[in-house]
């Protein structure tokens, strides 16, 4: 029983990171039908940018700021202007394939310009343990969980409580009508790309101390976020959050109770079951069929 609680907390901590990445993923899908197969690589890259800045002699806090700024510039603005804008009008699939190629490119660039070896990455959360209700819990897990929850709360507040959030939702749900009532749709789409870039940079900051900075980190992360987004509901932000937490917990529990060999299989079976019986995801709305 005590073991189960530890696993749950660890699972929620990784799940919260998956949730952040999955939310970014669904935002891109909602506003601009972009299935970003490079999302995992987007999480891997900011850590390397921060490491590079630190290598140049900057302190950690400055490296974080510069890393986030670079990621907004490259993974937000650059990604939208250079890849999504020219390709979007040709449909979903060519763009999805282009993001696959982008994933290869980013991975190889990290390997070539940094190193094929895993590098340690400092944590923004102090190490050590805390005792809660007589249980010893790693401060790392608690910190990650708290920061991720704060990020998600901030985002949902932005989307549901502010004028900009409402404009973004309008732009996502019906761009034509949104444009008519005066919503700057283009700017809203750009904003979602910037939010996604910020979320992946945050996820990078939280997960890299645990996984170490390695060029291949994106493969696992991207797939986990992908599954989380589908399981939760591809077209709902809160679905992606629920999906992320669920996948994190299921992943950790199945590693302990099913088998370490088939650990990765359990979320996938969950994915297939969800798609077969509730294709819109746990919290998603069904998408209409067009003739």
């Amino acid at each position: 029983m005590s073991n189960l609680l530890d696993l749950l907390i660890a699972g929620l901590a990784t799940g919260a990171i998956y949730a952040i990445v999955a939310v970014g993923f669904t935002l891109l899908w909602q506003t601009s039908q972009t299935i970003n197969f490079a999302q995992g690589e987007f999480v891997m890259l900011p850590a390397f940018l921060m490491l590079a800045v630190m290598h140049a002699g900057a302190p950690f806090w400055l490296a974080i700021l510069i890393g986030i700024a670079l990621s907004l510039l490259l993974l937000g603005l650059g990604f939208k202007m250079l890849l999504v804008d020219p390709m979007l009008r040709h449909g979903v699939l060519p763009l999805a394939i282009a993001t696959m190629a982008l994933a290869i490119g980013i991975k190889e660039a990290a390997k070539q310009f940094w190193s094929a070896e895993a590098s340690p990455f400092p944590s923004i959360i102090p190490g050590g343990d805390v005792t809660i209700f007589g249980r010893v819990v790693a401060l790392q897990s608690i910190g990650v969980l708290v920061l991720a929850i704060l990020a998600v709360l901030g985002l949902t507040t932005l989307l549901n409580r502010t004028s900009i959030g409402h404009q973004m939702q309008a732009a996502a749900q019906n761009p034509t009508v949104a444009r008519i009532i005066g919503v700057p749709v283009e700017r809203m789409i750009l904003l979602t790309f910037l939010i996604n870039a910020f979320l992946v940079a945050l996820a990078s900051l939280l997960i890299t101390p645990i996984y170490l900075a390695k060029f291949s980190n994106g493969e696992v992360l991207g797939q986990a976020a992908f599954i989380a987004a589908i399981v939760g509901g591809f077209n709902q932000v809160r679905g992606a959050i629920a999906g992320g937490l669920l996948i994190g917990v299921v992943d950790n529990l199945s590693a302990a109770y099913v088998s370490t060999q088939y650990r990765a299989a359990v979320p996938l079976v969950l994915l297939i079951a969800i798609i077969l019986f509730r294709p819109q995801g746990m919290l998603g709305r069904p998408e209409e069929r067009t003739v």
């Binding site: 197969f37 390709m87 040709h90 979903v92 282009a98 190889e108 070539q112 992908f226 088939y262």
Partner: protein, 331 residues
């Protein structure tokens, strides 16, 4: 016969002759790469049938290549002939593809991609973990190459001809298939499933069929892959192979018969040509693919198609202009 058709057939004969004659003095590595091109083209043709003609996105083609390769490796290592393994692989992949197609009936486009993605990873886990069958991460080595009509193909050149010959047979079969009523039903399925259904096409059966046949061709590619590398382990059949195959189909031009040939050429040969750039070659490959897709989202053959249709429109409007001028000058 029109001049254009003669030109096309002539060009085809030249290419086939070149594929037979030119590699004769290639070294072992060159032949290996060319054989790999032939094998990947077969797998990509299967995916092109599923994706390009029937419009169903599959991210599991690499898993079917893996199933075929393991079938061939396990059967031929225990002394059974490759042709028997080929039969088993085709039946197995066809059946699994058929079952995997069922979700396609319930959900639409991108959800299907996710189911096949999950299947791809599950298949990889089975290859890696079921030691009793697949020898796990150590893999199966010393896979024998077949004898064709009593003629051994152990050396690289004869085996290259086995791959090329198989590619030829598969090409003819696919060529026939897409011109048959089935192929037309596949295209109807891609263009407008609801309309196809209301025209009396059994869309359920054709969707499953498109999946199953595409997957079976993946299995065919796998049965050639095993004796080509003579060593099979789980690594090459990771999800990335499925993504690579999808990229080949899109880059070559999905829905074009010759798309997979060009796509596989770019995916297999371009990284080799770029090898002189050392560590940068995959990066340059990725950039090349992105630039190509930005320039022409319908792939290489899309460029050609656009050029030809532009020329036709120009020719047609020129004819119209002449006709109009005649009408005006006539009293």
């Amino acid at each position: 016969m029109t001049a254009a058709k003669t030109l096309k057939i002539g060009f085809g004969i030249v290419v086939i002759a070149a594929l037979i004659i030119v590699p004769m003095n290639f070294n072992r590595y060159g032949l290996f790469i060319l054989s790999q091109w032939a094998v990947m083209t077969i797998a990509a043709m299967g995916l092109n049938l599923t994706l390009g003609y029937a419009g169903q996105v599959s991210l599991a083609q690499g898993a079917f290549v893996g199933i075929g390769a393991y079938t061939a490796a396990i059967m031929t290592s225990s002394g059974l002939p490759l042709i028997g393994a080929l039969g088993v692989a085709i039946v197995l992949c066809f059946a699994i593809g058929w079952i995997l197609g069922y979700p396609a009936l319930r959900v639409q486009h991108h959800y299907l991609a996710f189911v096949t993605l999950a299947f791809s990873t599950l298949a990889f886990l089975v290859f890696r973990n079921e030691d009793w069958l697949t020898k796990g991460i150590y893999g199966i080595s010393n896979i024998p190459r077949p004898e064709i009509f009593g003629y051994p193909t152990r050396r690289p050149l004869p085996f290259y001809y086995v791959c090329l010959g198989s590619l030829g047979i598969v090409s003819l079969a696919v060529w026939w298939l897409i011109r048959s009523p089935w192929g037309r039903a596949f295209i109807a399925l891609r263009e407008n499933p609801v309309r196809a259904l209301s025209l009396g096409i059994d869309t359920r059966r054709y969707t499953l069929m498109a999946f199953a046949i595409g997957s079976a061709l993946g299995g065919v590619a796998g049965t050639l892959y095993a004796p080509l590398t003579q060593y099979v382990d789980p690594v090459p059949f990771h999800l990335s192979l499925s993504l690579d195959l999808l990229m080949m189909v899109i880059v070559g031009g999905s829905g074009f018969f010759f798309g997979p040939f060009l796509g596989a050429m770019i995916a297999v040969l371009l990284p080799e040509w770029l090898r002189f750039t050392q560590g940068y070659y995959l990066m340059l490959y990725a950039i090349a693919v992105i630039l190509l897709l930005i320039y022409s989202p319908t792939g290489i053959l899309g460029i050609l198609d656009r050029y030809i249709s532009e020329r036709r429109t120009k020719a047609a409007s020129a004819l119209r202009a002449v006709a109009k001028a005649k009408l005006e000058t006539a009293p």
